[in-house]
Amino acid sequence: AQSVTQLDSQVPVFEEAPVELRCNYSSSVSVYLFWYVQYPNQGLQLLLKYLSGSTLVESINGFEAEFNKSQTSFHLRKPSVHISDTAEYFCAVTPWGAGSYQLTFGKGTKLSVIP
């Protein structure tokens, strides 16, 4: 079984400041890792994913996350946030291999960008 811990339920940050949203996971098998974003009154959207290869993955809107196997972490970072980044962010994992259908989500981190 897998579990995901997002250490901060809420993160307020001023516009143009950097931000880090923390995610740690626990699993007895290798996993794929994801960050999803949920804007108000909307469903979740994939932000970025780590499947294999380079441990640093990037999204099209300036977010990046780094997979750290030794620390079982997949923290999300952005060097300069915008008002439009205000949303809830979910870290998720799923085990490798065929038939791995189930995403396990963290409880989410609400990012509030302050003008």
């Binding site: 999803y36 979740l44 499947l51 259908y101 989410g108």
Partner: protein
């Protein structure tokens, strides 16, 4: 862009009433998931289907919840009878899930917000 469509977007009902939520997955996706989101529990997986067959519904209260996929374009989640504790946002998601290493990406619908009074 291809979308997962959920109806209704909002539903207010009284305790004891039957509630049916519908989901149209993305054409060609072989797996459909139902999630429930609440403030207290976060996102919980209720059930999922692959190629219309139910694979796991262990997250659902069996006595009142049922999930079906009568055809490839429709998935339903039914609650009968509904209770106030069922108030939540219910999300449907679909994906092309299988042996391909990049395939475990889900597309979520906008959700059905259920309020049971």
């Amino acid at each position: 862009d291809a979308r997962v469509t959920q109806t209704p977007r909002h539903k207010v009902t009284e305790m004891g009433q039957e509630v049916t939520m519908r989901c149209q997955p993305i054409l060609g996706h072989n797996t459909v998931f139902w999630y429930r989101q609440t403030m207290m529990q976060g996102l919980e997986l209720l059930a999922y289907f692959r190629n219309r067959a139910p694979l796991d519904d262990s997250g659902m209260p069996k006595d009142r919840f049922s999930a079906e996929m009568p055809d490839a374009t429709l998935a339903t989640l039914k609650i009968q009878p509904s209770e106030p504790r069922d108030s939540a946002v219910y999300f449907c998601a679909s994906g092309l899930v299988g042996s391909d290493s990049g395939a475990n990406v889900l597309t979520f619908g906008a959700g059905s917000r259920l309020t049971v009074l």
